[in-house]
Subunit: 272 residues, 2 copies
């Protein structure tokens, strides 16, 4: 999906909500465990109940790989369900991949061609030739880790290289890579105060912002400092939506939680 | 597997060779494509022909994910074949994972518990809480990316933070993390001249060294600067061994290529 089409969807739905499908069998409602594919059954119910207020879904691959072959099958069924039934939805494989060039090319093939995601999150540590293979697909996107929402972000990402924090160096450097128009960036909502500086470096890029909700980030702060003329934000919530209830009403509860966030987003968009 | 047991195997086999199982269906012998699981058939033949001269195997997950569900199945069959038939072999999932704490825990579960690997490669960008979940398993290892073999390593890894290159900062910082005795590090053979400095920071840790062979690294240089009292090295070769021939004699050709490297390793060990 092109960013133009993504922006259209955001304006149409008055929402820049991304829902994280981080499915843990210990946390989903017990009655689903007797389903033939509990993870897919859970995802399908969540998607059916929330797709009218969300513009993107983001399965984190760790939660699928933990269940081996069955988990990978659930991931495949989930992305195919989204692509077949909701082609207007932007899909993100939260996989944090990255390797030497010919290997990154295989990852790009896995996520863009075999599974059919619109985008994949990528770690920047190995530099240019580990990221560019993901950027060679038109209408597909690499979402590069810049400043993550966790405590460990302070170990290296905020350390200064010649007066510039590593995450800013990642932004400055990567914006000159080939097909950089297919780059987006991960910036954690827990560090919203950094967004103003980040926007000075990459005014036009889309930002995927995790950390609103369970991790404590503020939607208002994120929008205040991170929004650009094309909105330019995908704000993710995972646990706060998908585990809003673990009873039989889990899908309705997820819809209510998603609707609450979308209403807040609409107010912010209306006030601009 | 504990490092003590790994060192025993190295001394017994006079080899610190790791063979990279980066299986590309475009590169394997054509006659295997009619097999029910060509990737596993290829790996099994390579393992059967080379296990007497190798101490470790390293499938890179990208090459399996690129073939979707079937690829993940081939990966699972490969690691199970190794664990069932060659429990003395050290196994590495070259996956370059890393995410926020509760997510890294799911990756650790995927690779250590579900698949049964001895170790997994991990990217350091997200810091301490993204790596420590991998270190909580006794007898299992996180192999942290320090200085990689590709050109992109110069984009960020060799940039200086307060007079210390980022990769050295990664070494210095990570050696104080909880259960750091379960840490190993990736250092590319193409940058062997950096190994002397690296050994000053982490004298005792095992290093996984890719880049000998196809990527141009020198075994002699790597050993000169990187070997410690317990050997402390796993030198990886992928393409140079597994694609030594793409005819029906591919396994014998792989055995010859592996044997040549092992002979060179034995000479180095004997000369100490």
């Amino acid at each position: 999906m092109t960013t133009t089409k993504l922006v259209e969807q955001i304006r149409k739905k008055n929402s820049f909500l991304c829902i994280g499908l981080d499915v843990d069998l210990d946390k989903i409602p017990k009655h689903l465990l007797s389903e033939e594919d509990p993870i897919f059954a859970f995802n399908k119910a969540i998607i059916d109940a929330t797709h009218h207020v969300a513009v993107a879904y983001k399965p984190n691959t760790a939660f699928y790989e933990a269940y081996g072959l069955e988990g990978w099958n659930s991931l495949q069924r989930t992305i195919r369900y989204l692509n077949d039934n909701h082609p207007e939805i932007f899909t993100i494989a939260d996989a944090k991949r990255g390797d030497i060039g010919n290997t990154s090319k295989m990852y790009a093939k896995a996520f863009f061609e075999d599974l059919g995601f619109d985008s994949v999150t990528v770690a920047p540590y190995m530099g240019k030739d580990s990221v560019e293979p993901f950027l060679a697909f038109e209408g597909k996107h690499a979402i590069l880790l810049a400043l993550t929402s966790n405590e460990g972000a302070y170990d290296f990402q905020t350390q200064q290289i010649e007066g510039l924090e590593l995450y800013k160096k990642v932004l400055e450097t990567s914006k000159n890579w080939k097909n950089a128009h297919n780059l987006m960036y991960v910036v954690g909502a827990t560090k919203a105060e950094f967004l103003a500086d980040i926007r000075k470096i990459i005014p036009n890029s889309f930002l995927l912002v995790p950390g609103v909700g369970a991790q404590g980030g503020s939607l208002t702060e994120v929008c205040k400092y991170g929004m650009n003329k094309d909105i330019g934000l995908l704000v993710n919530s995972s646990r706060g939506i998908i585990y809003a209830s673990n009873e039989t009403n889990f899908a309705e509860a997820a819809a209510t939680a998603a609707q609450t966030l979308q209403t807040a987003m609409k107010q912010i968009l209306d006030a601009r």
